[in-house]
């Protein structure tokens, strides 16, 4: 320890003597790193949220490969007044359908007008688009179209609202391996298309949603957060640093150090080829917020030393001597906490954790090199000593010491009540609600859900067990019963199932006699009906999105109302239970985008739980080792653990639902709040070693670190509060939860920890 101190002195001396060299080397290093920033990418693939071995995603991809479907863009067409079954609106739908075929990467367009309607015509089967040449239709023909559309299960509730006021169009796109430019291309095409449609039909509103479109919003939100929120946080930090330090040069030194840290971190991100997504778009914000603490601690202490009459370099040296260890320690613990995000099942969090950890270490290095050199170069002067602040923390200490028993009980009780709120937490991730209504995507999605069809669906690939088995009467009956069961569930708005096609064909083949709207009984006849129907379908309208190539399985789509993840999983489980009981040969869980998302939080919390505990344990051990006191180390657990639990509880009372953010919140918040506890306990311990009684030691601690802890808390809380202004659900929830946790942490450090220390130390003595 002594030799370490001498080495530290020698180091400080070297930095201050070669201060210009230090600045030049640091600048060159920063510039070299920053050059990498141009390699930073932004993804618009929402599937980047999932790990490659996510079993739900694998099941979804298998379904997509089998039925050549992947992403859907859904357009809703809503006349301002009245029904869609008019010459004008149907004409508009027809026009749009034609143009939709030219959507890049599309392989299928399903709309109200191109629905392949089949009917008997004499002895023949006539299959034709439902609407051709809408403009020249008579009123009787329009009425006939309306009747057909509203009674066809493939159409009503999907391609036209049950009340006939909104028409729909689903464009299936198959995205290539490198989907990013493809998504931009296709969303640009669709937006241009709809803008033209709006111009030529001013009385019709158009809405665009679907998981092909959310990709684009993903990229937009990433850019919004990085470009809009980061500068705000930066300005906020500059203003707060200036207000606190009350020295232009000191602020300049802090800001320059911060810019070096940010540039180096983002440059590093570029060199390693980082691709940002909304989940980790907050990296610059978090790095700034977390990294500024080191330099503030060092600069504050240096200025304090100068106020006490020390020379500039002496004050800087003293500040480094007293802060190197705590700053090093808090940086390491914060880095450990962020590195624990690598255990998350969601890859973007690995990026977040690793880059923030890098940024934290980077801030430590610059604070130990660039910062003292800058402080030494700049004509720094000590600000006038302020009389009010130490006085405030003195009075505050008096209050805490006097009311310690009350505070202990009050805070403990409040904590218990708050923590109970955790029981009200519901885990859910809902892709339709990931973005708030500043994004057109969300507004359009809400309209479609309210007026046309649900956006959440369960997808089933129901296997008949043998090639050609899908026309077996037994198979058809079971699938039909399954579809009927789903239609009876209150959560379900629409079911698309293959037996409906067979029933309709059977009716068509019997001269459209409604009595024959039932499943054909002869498997060969059914297979031949199907073959006939398939020969009648034009390009892009085939059944390959519903039937696999071996005709051994069909796809069934169950559209749900907006449900929470838990409710979706429940419905899936009930579906599986129904299959096991009634059609065990078909038993399979559901898949689909909704199901993949509905398992996201659970999987993440599961994967994060252990690593968060490991990180917390490791950090606690470091604290025990640093404080060289098992007792204080154990006491530190209380203010370190409780704030996260309290904010989850408060969240449970106020919001209730939490998604992906909930899985990483504890690890992130823990890494931040442990710093305050570390500072508080180390100063308290120092005071006790100097022979002060517990109450006096508490007073001394408040006096020395109260101001610094308060400041870093305000900076952290403000930074994360700005982060919560993001339009992306995961980011705003994370920002807000961390903010709340930081506030609870300062409350615990100021109101709970001192009474606890006094109570324990009294019992001991």
């Amino acid at each position: 320890m002594v030799s370490a101190m001498i080495d530290l002195d020698r180091y400080i001396d070297a930095v201050l003597r070669r201060r210009w060299l230090v600045v030049v080397v640091a600048t060159l290093a920063m510039l070299g790193m920053t050059a990498g920033a141009r390699f930073i990418g932004v993804t618009n693939d929402y599937r980047s949220l999932f790990s490659e071995d996510d079993p739900q995603l694998a099941a979804l991809e298998a379904l997509e490969d089998t039925y050549s479907v992947s992403h859907t863009a859904l357009i809703a067409i809503a006349p301002r007044e009245g029904s869609v079954f008019t010459r004008e609106t149907l004409g508009a739908v027809e026009e749009l359908t034609e143009a939709a075929w030219r959507t890049p990467y599309s392989n299928r367009v399903d709309s109200l007008t191109n629905y392949s309607h089949s009917e008997a015509f004499g002895d023949d089967l006539v299959v034709a688009p439902l609407v051709v040449g809408a403009q020249s239709k008579s009123d009787e023909e329009l009425a006939r179209i309306e009747e057909v559309a509203l009674s066809a299960p493939q159409v009503a509730g999907r391609l036209v609202a049950h009340d006939g006021r909104v028409a729909g169009m689903a464009i299936n796109v198959v995205l290539p391996e490198n989907s990013d430019p493809a998504v931009v291309e296709l969303t640009d095409y669709l937006n241009t298309l709809l803008d033209q449609a709006r111009k030529s039909h001013p009385d019709i509103d158009y809405y665009l949603t679907g998981d092909a479109v959310i990709h684009r919003v993903f990229a937009d939100a990433t850019k919004d957060d990085m470009e809009n929120l980061s500068p705000i946080v930066f300005l906020l930090i500059v203003v707060m640093a200036a207000a606190l330090l009350r020295s232009a040069y000191a602020t300049l030194a802090v800001v320059v150090t911060l810019m070096f840290t940010i540039n180096t971190t983002l440059g590093f991100a570029g060199w390693i080829g980082t691709v940002f997504s909304p989940v980790n778009a907050g990296v610059p914000i978090i790095v700034m917020t977390v990294a500024v603490a080191d330099s503030i601690h060092i600069v504050t202490a240096a200025l304090a030393g100068m106020s006490r009459g020390l020379g500039r370099n002496e004050a800087i040296a003293e500040s480094l001597r007293s802060n190197t260890w705590p700053v090093f320690l808090t940086s390491v613990t914060t880095a450990i906490a962020f590195l624990s995000l690598n255990a998350s099942d969601s890859p973007p969090f690995h990026v977040l954790g690793n880059l923030v950890a890098f940024g934290v270490i980077c801030a430590l290095v610059y604070s130990m090199t660039l910062l003292p050199a800058l402080l030494s170069i700049l004509p720094l002067r000590a600000p006038r000593a302020r009389a009010d602040r130490p006085g405030f923390f003195d009075r505050f200490a008096t209050f805490v010491i006097a009311r310690r028993t009350f505070l202990l009980w009050f805070v403990a009780l409040s904590a218990v009540v708050l923590v109970m709120g955790i029981l009200r937490i519901e885990l859910t991730d809902n892709w339709t609600e990931y973005f708030d209504d500043r994004y057109a995507f969300r507004r359009d999605t809400d309209f479609v859900i309210e007026n046309l069809t649900g956006m959440e669906s369960l997808e089933y690939s129901l296997n008949a067990g043998r090639e050609g088995g899908i026309t077996d009467p037994g198979y058809l009956r079971e699938v039909d019963a399954f579809a009927e069961w789903f239609r009876g569930q209150p959560e379900v708005t629409h079911v698309q199932a293959f037996p409906d096609i067979m029933k309709r064909l059977n009716k068509n083949m019997h001269g459209d006699d409604p009595a024959f709207y039932r499943l054909p009984a002869d498997p060969e006849l059914a297979a031949q009906y199907l073959l006939l129907y398939e020969f009648s379908l034009p390009f892009g309208r085939d059944l390959n999105d519903r039937i696999d190539i071996a005709k051994s399985a069909t796809r069934m789509t169950v559209v749900m109302r907006s449900l929470s993840a838990q409710q979706q999983r429940d419905l899936d489980a009930r579906g599986l239970a129904w299959l096991r009981a009634n059609a065990p040969g078909l038993a399979t869980p559901a898949t689909g985008v909704s199901i993949v998302f509905s398992h996201l939080s659970q999987r993440n919390i599961h994967s994060m739980l252990r690593s968060t505990i490991v990180a917390m344990g490791l950090i606690s051990f470091i604290l025990i080792w640093f404080l060289k006191s098992l007792r204080l180390g154990l006491v530190s657990l209380v203010p370190n653990f409780i704030p996260a639990a309290m904010s989850f509880g408060l969240w449970g009372y106020l919001v209730g639902q939490v998604g992906l953010a909930g899985s990483v919140m504890t690890a992130i918040a823990f890494g931040l709040i442990v710093d305050d506890t570390t500072h508080f306990l180390s100063k308290y311990q120092k005071a006790r070693r100097e022979g002060l009684l517990p109450p006096e030691a508490v007073r001394s601690t408040f006096r020395t670190v109260g101001q610094a802890l308060w400041t870093t808390t305000v900076v952290l809380a403000a930074g994360f509060l700005v982060y919560s202004a993001s339009g992306f659900e995961v980011s705003w929830a994370l920002g807000l939860m961390v903010t709340i946790t930081i506030v609870f942490a300062i409350a615990a450090d100021f109101l709970l920890l001192p009474p606890l220390l006094m109570a324990i130390d009294r019992r001991k003595s």
Partner: protein, 273 residues
């Protein structure tokens, strides 16, 4: 002396050009032919060279593959009858999948208007007319459409010659063809590679309505029958968008068999086995 030596060399160089010119025919000599005229000429020559086969029978085996690696087979027999002055008539009888065994598809091709098609359903013992005029829908779930399988009638497309390029050991002409009836086709255009020697088609690229390259057909294992008619042994269609593919193998070609015109009628269809 030198000039005398040089002359035959130049002549040799000229020879391939002359052969090319004569092959492209008189329009080119009369005035410089447009790419459209050259394209049409190639199509007309191809059609003419295929004329006169009378009839043939063959079997087709299709293996469908999806992106998952799943496979499925289709097996059918084909009879084709040449019709003077109109499109060919064809009869396809399905042997596999088992459920549709005995189902038969009769097509009366036409030079200009849409083809007529009927399907015989053995389980119903009835013939049903197929109403769609669009022949580029999926053929039995495969990546082929009926349009891709049938011999293209010259009149149903307009043409444009693009370039010559080597294909394997041969030299191919590369031409585009555009459907005359846009509604009847799923494609905006096709690009066709044909060797110059025998006018066999080796490759076709299909572009969909948004002019994206949707599918590629490669054709191989050609054999010549009756010393004149080339027929492919294998056709491989790959869908670039979906990653699905279908390999079609032709076998048992027989020309000028004893099949009769009335086999290719609605009543004959019922007897097809």
């Amino acid at each position: 002396m030198r000039r005398i030596h040089a002359y035959p060399v130049r002549l040799l160089l000229l020879a391939p050009c002359l052969i090319l010119l004569s092959w492209l025919g008189t329009p080119l000599l009369a005035h410089s032919a447009t790419p459209e005229e050259i394209g049409l000429k190639i199509a007309t020559d191809t059609s003419a060279r295929g004329d006169g086969f009378g009839n043939f029978t063959a079997t087709q085996a299709m293996v469908l593959r999806n992106k998952q690696g799943q496979e499925s087979r289709r097996q059918l027999r084909v009879k084709v009858l040449e019709v003077a002055g109109d499109g060919d008539k064809s009869l396809m009888v399905f042997d596999e999948p088992r459920d549709v065994k005995g189902t038969a598809l009769l097509t009366h091709g036409h030079k200009q208007e849409a083809d007529d098609q009927w399907l015989y359903l053995p389980a119903l013992k009835r013939v049903k007319r197929i109403s769609s005029s669009n022949k580029s829908g999926s053929f039995m779930g495969s990546e082929f459409s009926y349009e891709d399988l049938s011999t293209p009638e010259v009149e149903k497309y307009t043409y444009r010659y693009l370039r010559d390029e080597p294909c394997g050991d041969l030299t191919c002409t590369v031409c585009e063809r555009f459907p005359v009836d846009k509604k009847a086709s799923g494609y905006s255009r096709q690009v066709v590679w044909q060797d110059k020697d025998e006018l066999r088609t080796w490759k076709v690229e299909y572009y969909d309505r948004k002019d994206a390259h949707l599918k590629t057909l490669t054709i191989g294992k050609y054999q010549q029958y009756l010393d004149q008619y080339w027929r492919a042994g294998e056709m491989n269609m790959v869908n670039h968008l979906t990653g699905k593919s279908t390999v079609l193998t032709w076998a048992d070609y027989q020309f000028r068999t004893k099949i009769r015109e009335r086999d290719f009628s609605k009543t004959g269809l019922k007897r097809a086995r």
